[in-house]
């Protein structure tokens, strides 16, 4: 008796431990696979001609009472809920909108797709995202939605098929507060002869202005010229993705064998990181003239630096047009809408006077090919409604604030927020926009290695040469996977 009870106790203890382990070991789902639609739906549907699909599906659409949209952008989740309510009132089809928390879209999508009621509309981040999700992306070549696209080359394609359609064009650069700049230009003892931001068109000028501003920080009432270079975990994307885009864009542009830098990047098994010193130029400028001392950058988040900018503690911050709502929503915001401007990220590359903002997108809608054709059709109709009906377009320009790359939008239907308008202004200037080459980066892990190395560089535990080596090595190893 004693022996068995002991055995039982050990067994119980093991089970207890094992049970608490399930979270790590068993990503498994208990749902049986029978609930996923069979492969044949996908094949029959993609083979059909367009008229065919809409004809046969239009009857089915009536049967669909719910479609499911997995949203990528938490900052506009509220608006989608309103849109969904409006759409349901108009058509009777319920749009279930689920928003993945910031930075967890891939995780959420992975688990949602495995459920019996998977997302019908989801998004991929470009050619690399398509590689991961190609089994789930429906060919959209014959849809009206694709025909709305103003520049067909923006879509994610593979062979003849069109699998991802961009729905927003975004731009990023250095955002500056013109009020503080004017204050600087008015200083009597400034060491530079720059008198307006129009004269800042290369790295050397930017550097001299920034360093002189740091010397006059007290006169200008700022803590530092640049807001904190946020290097906390999960807060590094502005550097390991956006800023990393600059040197690699130039490197791939030098490879003339390909039509554009993204294709060259996708084909690159290794990189030279030729423009590493240019990256270092601007990165050092950010951290040496920052509102936060270097050792503390590891605890800073993007929100922190946007708040510093909004409160007028910093004159510049690197971010994109999506940041406007973030700046505007900070309590005690002192930045006026007319003072907020964009400057391209100058890194000291020759001929950069003609360089524009970084313009592109990593937001592509894809339709789940593994749900029923009726649901697919209903999902496409929802997207068409959103980007072509009066009501939908009103939401897109005024509430979602998208610069939508569709022909259905007139000139007077462009967004009104100051940063989006700045992006449009820069696109119309006589400069060359920098393409979003980071779409060709091999993986999230590559970016994380890059970001980790930058943090250690800032904290002096790694030299710049170490960083360069890590970037090159991790590109190679991640691409090989």
């Amino acid at each position: 008796m004693k022996k068995t009870s002991k055995l039982l106790a050990i067994l119980c203890a093991l089970m207890l431990m094992a049970a608490s382990l399930t979270a790590c070991s068993g990503e498994g789902k208990t749902k049986d696979t029978g609930s996923t639609p069979e492969k044949k739906t996908e094949e029959t549907n993609t083979d059909k001609k367009k008229e065919d699909t809409s004809d046969s599906a239009s009857e089915d659409v009536d049967e669909v009472d719910e479609i499911y949209f997995l949203n990528f952008k938490p900052e506009i989740a509220e608006v989608y809920n309103q849109i969904s309510a409006d759409y349901e009132a108009e058509t009777g089809i319920k749009v279930k909108v689920v928003t993945a928390a910031s930075g967890t879209y891939e995780q959420t999508l992975k688990s949602e797709v495995a459920k019996s009621d998977p997302p019908t509309i989801f998004q991929i981040n470009g050619p690399v995202g398509y590689e991961a999700w190609k089994d789930y992306c429906l060919d959209l070549k014959d849809t009206d939605f694709y025909s709305y696209l103003s520049d067909k080359s923006l879509a994610v394609t593979s062979g003849d098929g069109v699998y991802g359609i961009p729905y927003v064009v975004e731009g990023y650069g250095i955002i500056y507060n013109n009020a503080i700049m004017e204050k600087y230009f008015a200083l009597e003892d400034k060491a530079t002869d720059v008198t307006s931001m129009d004269q800042v068109n290369n790295f050397a000028t930017l550097k001299s202005v920034v360093e002189d501003m740091t010397a006059h920080a007290d006169d200008l009432g700022i803590k530092g010229v640049f807001a904190s270079t946020s290097l906390g975990a999960g807060e590094q994307w502005r550097w390991q993705t956006h800023l990393a885009n600059m040197p690699l864009f130039y490197e791939f542009k030098d490879n003339t064998a390909y039509d554009n830098s993204v294709l060259a990047g996708l084909a690159a098994d290794e990189i030279q990181f030729t423009y590493a010193d240019n990256f270092r130029n601007i990165f050092d400028l950010y951290t040496n003239n920052s509102s936060t001392q270097k050792g503390l950058l590891g605890s800073k988040s993007v929100n922190d630096s946007m708040a510093e900018f909004a409160l007028g503690q910093a004159a510049m911050v690197q971010n994109g047009n999506w940041a406007w709502s973030q700046i505007n929503d900070v309590a005690g915001n002192v930045v006026a809408a007319e003072d907020i401007k964009f400057l391209p990220i100058y890194t000291g590359v020759s001929g950069e006077e003609k360089q524009g903002l970084c313009v592109g997108t990593e937001n592509y809608f894809a339709i789940n090919s593994k749900v029923s054709p009726a649901k697919q059709q209903a999902s496409i109709e929802f997207l068409e409604w959103l980007f072509s009906s009066e009501k939908g377009k009103d939401y897109v320009t005024n509430q979602l604030g998208f610069i939508a790359p569709f022909t259905t939008f007139n000139d007077d239907e462009k967004p009104t927020d100051p940063l989006a308008r700045e992006v449009l202004t820069w696109m119309e200037k006589d400069v060359e926009s920098v393409a979003w080459t980071f779409a060709a980066f091999p993986s999230e892990e590559f970016k994380n290695y890059f970001g980790d190395a930058l943090l250690e560089y800032v904290q002096d535990s790694k030299t710049w040469d170490d960083v360069v080596t890590i970037v090159k090595d991790s590109w190679k190893s991640e691409r090989a996977k």
Binding site: S25, G26, G232, A233, G295, E445, Y449, A453
Partner: protein, 280 residues
């Protein structure tokens, strides 16, 4: 009696058994299966044999995380149990407000891991701020940060178990020892310690498995920074699984290895401490 038990066996056991099968047993088997495959979602997998396991072990980060976890587990097992036992001794001495103290020490255990991690990140960064650095400055900072946090969270819980053990010691043995002229230290070593061995077994087991499996606190406090030098096994598995496309199977293989290690260490530890237990 025996027959009676057998008759009602299904009624009492079945609900738990079904729940256990659905929520644990099936996913566990599925998890093992998936570690031999390449998959994007759990419902479409392609068999690749042992490739994932080879990749997992040739991955330097996995071995680093393993070392870090082992070091952390040893340090926190020792510190948590020593402090918890000392507190238990102190709080079984009829000091005024004993119950209040017990409650206060137990409270941290009621806070969830993520919240706790962020709170401690704020506290520790707040202190390090004076020296112009943060937790991410050196891996050692993150390590000791984790140890401090683990102690703060686990001590109260272990203390309660030790208190129960100490209170179970029969008074007559203590009195007999005193009459025989045993000193305080002798009583502690020769009577208290041997008689609370069952509690020690439980406490060591709990601290060990909890430290080994630590995830949320690790994620919230350091998230592996700098450069994954403070990544523990569970976090490493998570990073592998979600970090790059096509690595899901490798993450799964690491998870299976992880399970085996924890189970093995737990069995060895249980056996050793069981031998030292004394029947009352």
């Amino acid at each position: 009696m025996e027959r009676h038990n057998r008759k009602y066996f299904p009624i009492f056991v079945l609900p738990t058994l079904i729940a256990f099968t659905i929520a644990f047993f099936i996913p566990f088997l599925l998890g093992i299966f998936l570690s031999f495959t390449e998959f994007t979602t759990v419902i479409d997998a392609r068999w690749v044999g042992l490739r994932n396991y080879i990749a997992a072990f040739s991955n330097k980060e996995f071995t680093n995380a393993l070392w870090f976890t082992v070091k952390f587990t040893i340090v926190s097992m020792v510190t948590v149990n020593i402090f918890a036992f000392l507190l238990a001794l102190l709080l079984t001495r009829n000091i005024r407000g004993t119950n209040l103290f017990r409650t206060v020490f137990f409270m941290p255990n009621l806070i969830g891991g993520i919240v706790l991690g962020y709170i401690w990140q704020l506290i520790l960064n707040g202190i390090l701020f004076r020296f112009g650095v943060t937790l991410t400055y050196k891996p050692e900072y993150g390590f000791w940060g984790l140890v401090i946090m683990m102690n703060w969270q686990m001590i109260g819980y272990m203390m309660v178990i030790y208190i129960a053990g100490i209170q179970n010691i029969p008074k007559d043995i203590m009195e007999a020892a005193k009459i025989d002229g045993a000193g305080k230290f002798q009583i502690l070593r020769k009577i208290t310690l041997p008689l609370v061995m069952p509690s020690v077994t439980i406490c060591l087991f709990l601290t060990m498995s909890n430290s080994f499996k630590l995830f949320d606190q690790n994620l919230a406090l350091t998230a592996g920074a700098p450069s994954r030098k403070t990544t523990m096994l569970a976090l490493d598995i998570y990073n592998t699984f979600y970090g790059s496309v096509g690595s899901e199977g490798i993450g799964q293989a690491k998870a299976v290895v992880f399970t085996l290690i924890v189970a093995l260490v737990a069995i060895i530890q249980l056996n050793i401490t069981r031998k030292r237990e004394v029947e009352n």
